[in-house]
């Protein structure tokens, strides 16, 4: 898959004040999470990728195209959902979405057809002839998403898409994001302060702090790794059980007589443990995969005072 973004010593300064500092990396996941505390530079990074700010030093590429030289081509392939309220209130939803599709280069007939499709798909079919100003907050968020995806972009940049949504609206928004990711055609950059949203939707995460990239994490790989680290609680005589597990190549640590921690080799599956337990008459009362949650990763990254990319 083409890298969605490639950063090469990217720095952005406003009035001589550095906002982004020497960002490096290539990110090609289907959904890339962008995390960081307020003022970390997330929005500036997004705006640089959209060509709103020129890079002061270094370079940034989006879908293989340099933001300095190919910004129009980049914008043809990008859909952007801004964080703040951003719409034309005195315009019906269908006209707003259609106009934005036309501005992205779609002929009027195609733009109208896709505007209808998109609004229906996002649950605004019945409200599409109403002025956007009369929409509820959740509907406005969906209208912003409709504007971002109507022209079928290859890269979708979502800035706090679940802002202000109730539980149902948030669930629906995340479902749609996962669905778009699942289509395989569109890559997503999801900027959110809600770690749960990023964890549910993204397979790569970049964490910014003070304008620097302090942590890059491939969540998918992390999940795979963590699946092999197991904590277990048992009942019964465990001597033979532990022997047989050790023979499989597992690293074991016994804590008391009932609690075990182990790292499974790649060839061993959890069902092997159940089989051995059954054969040796041991009851497995509890079995947990140790999981370094995104929150742990984020907090660790925040503790890094002099982060480096």
């Amino acid at each position: 898959m083409t890298p969605a973004i490639e950063l090469d010593n990217l720095s952005v300064l406003f009035n001589g004040r550095p906002i982004l500092k020497d960002l490096n990396g290539s990110f090609s996941g289907r959904a890339i999470g962008l995390l960081g505390p307020n003022g970390a530079g997330k929005s500036t990074l997004i705006q640089t990728l959209l060509g709103f700010h020129p890079p002061t030093m270094g370079s940034a590429k989006v879908l293989g195209l340099d933001v300095r030289t190919h910004i129009r081509e980049i914008r043809h392939n990008i859909g952007y959902m801004p964080e703040n309220d951003s719409y034309i209130t005195a315009m019906p939803g269908i006209r707003l979405v259609r106009m934005m599709a036309e501005l992205s280069g779609l002929p009027p007939a195609d733009a109208l057809e896709r505007a209808h499709e998109t609004l229906f798909h996002l649950g605004l079919g019945e409200a599409r002839y109403r002025d956007v100003g009369t929409y509820s907050l959740g509907m406005k968020q969906m209208a912003k998403l409709a504007v971002a995806i109507v022209h079928g972009p290859r890269l979708l940049i979502l800035d706090e898409p679940t802002n202000g949504l109730d539980a149902h609206g948030r669930k629906r928004m995340l479902e749609i994001i996962r669905e778009i990711r699942g289509n395989g055609d569109t890559q997503i950059i999801l900027c959110s302060h809600l770690l749960r949203d990023v964890e549910e939707c993204c397979d790569e995460v970049m964490i910014l702090k003070d304008g620097r990239l302090v942590q890059y994490c491939n969540l998918e790989a992390e999940r795979q790794t963590n699946r092999k680290f197991i904590q277990m609680e048992t009942r019964g005589e465990t001597g033979v059980f532990l022997n047989q597990i050790a023979q499989l190549g597992c690293e074991l640590a016994v804590n008391g007589s009932r609690k075990l921690k182990m790292i499974l080799p790649q060839t061993v599956e959890v069902r092997d443990l159940y089989r051995i337990a059954s054969e040796t008459g041991v009851q497995i009362r509890r079995l947990d995969f140790k999981r370094d949650s995104l929150q742990d990763i984020f907090l660790k990254a925040m503790e890094t005072t002099n982060g480096s990319s």
């Binding site: 406003f14 129009r72 914008r75 951003s86 034309i88 036309e102 280069g105 779609l106 499709e117 998109t118």
Partner: protein
């Protein structure tokens, strides 16, 4: 498949040429603009002076029709009587009437063009597409340019063409300088007023205030200019009087080959207590400076987002 059954998909179809994409904004704006019944009524009334003039020109060449209606008056009519002489003075007078009407149209339309986009933070939606700031301004500008041209330059050229068709090819050729003056004079006027209106719409986000500012710009600086003239015993303060400035500019165009006519027109424009009317070049410079200032103001405001410094 019905549109409501389709999900998100990429767009693979043709794209429209980028050169004329600014016109999309104008197309959508026209629909919005003519929603106002007040504007439609006023806009139709703006054609009344033109229709009266057209009728006058027609009757001038078909004096028999008029004489049959008023036989007693016809008996006392001199042989070389011309009901409506189509001269530089005629066009200059009509231009002044139409320009005055165009100020009201601008005050009704202009404030609704840029300020709602800024108030609703809609610029990121436009500018994250393959659509530049220049195209945005051009799109909004073309709304006013078309609307105002249709009530200033276009009807006057229509009168010129009608007069030519009635008076013959000789009149058409002899008075080509009038057609040039109409064309350039109306383009300069429409450009000036459209840019000032867009700039005030960008800086004053409350629509009624932006409309009021249009009129204020005509009268308040003129007052300051008058005061400057009185205090400093000069006539350069007249440059702040936009009515005199544009009148001088038009006079310089309509009386290009008639210095005596220009001098008379310039005297008429200037207040009686000043001996020296402002020179034509200073009026041109002033108009260019106001246009440049308006573009500068637009450049400061038409941005995808505001940089917090």
């Amino acid at each position: 498949m019905g549109v409501h059954r389709r999900g998100h998909r990429q767009y693979e179809g043709p794209r429209t040429p980028e050169r004329w994409r600014f016109w999309i904004l104008a197309r959508f704006a026209f629909r919005q603009v003519f929603h106002s019944r007040l504007l439609v009524i006023f806009y139709v009334l703006c054609f009344v002076p033109t229709l009266v003039s057209l009728a006058g020109v027609y009757l001038s060449h078909n004096i028999d029709v008029l004489m049959s209606l008023f036989p007693r008056a016809a008996r006392n009519m001199p042989n070389d009587f011309e009901l409506l002489p189509v001269t530089a003075t005629f066009f200059l007078t009509l231009m002044s009437i139409q320009a005055s009407l165009s100020v009201f149209v601008t005050a009704l339309v202009g404030p609704g063009l840029v300020s709602p986009d800024l108030t609703n933070n809609a610029l990121p939606l436009f500018l994250s597409r393959p659509f530049s700031r220049v195209e945005y301004v051009l799109g909004k500008f073309s709304v006013l340019f078309v609307l105002l041209s249709l009530i200033t330059g276009a009807p006057m050229l229509l009168i010129y063409i009608m007069k030519s068709s009635l008076a013959g090819l000789g009149w058409f050729i002899d008075n080509l300088d009038l057609a040039f003056a109409i064309l350039v004079g109306s383009v300069v006027w429409v450009t000036l007023i459209a840019l000032v209106s867009l700039a005030s719409s960008a800086w004053v986000r409350w629509k009624p205030a932006a409309a009021g500012m249009m009129f204020a710009l005509f009268f308040i600086p003129a007052g300051f200019g008058q005061a400057a003239n009185e205090i400093m015993l000069t006539s350069w303060g007249t440059l702040l009087n936009s009515i005199v400035v544009i009148g001088t500019l038009w006079s310089s165009l309509f009386y290009m080959d008639d210095p005596a006519g220009y001098a008379a027109a310039a005297r008429d424009l200037n207040p009686v207590n000043f001996a020296d009317p402002i020179p034509a070049w200073s009026a041109w410079l002033m108009v260019a400076a106001v246009c440049a200032a308006s573009l500068f103001m637009l450049n400061r405001k038409i941005r995808a987002h505001e940089v917090v410094r």
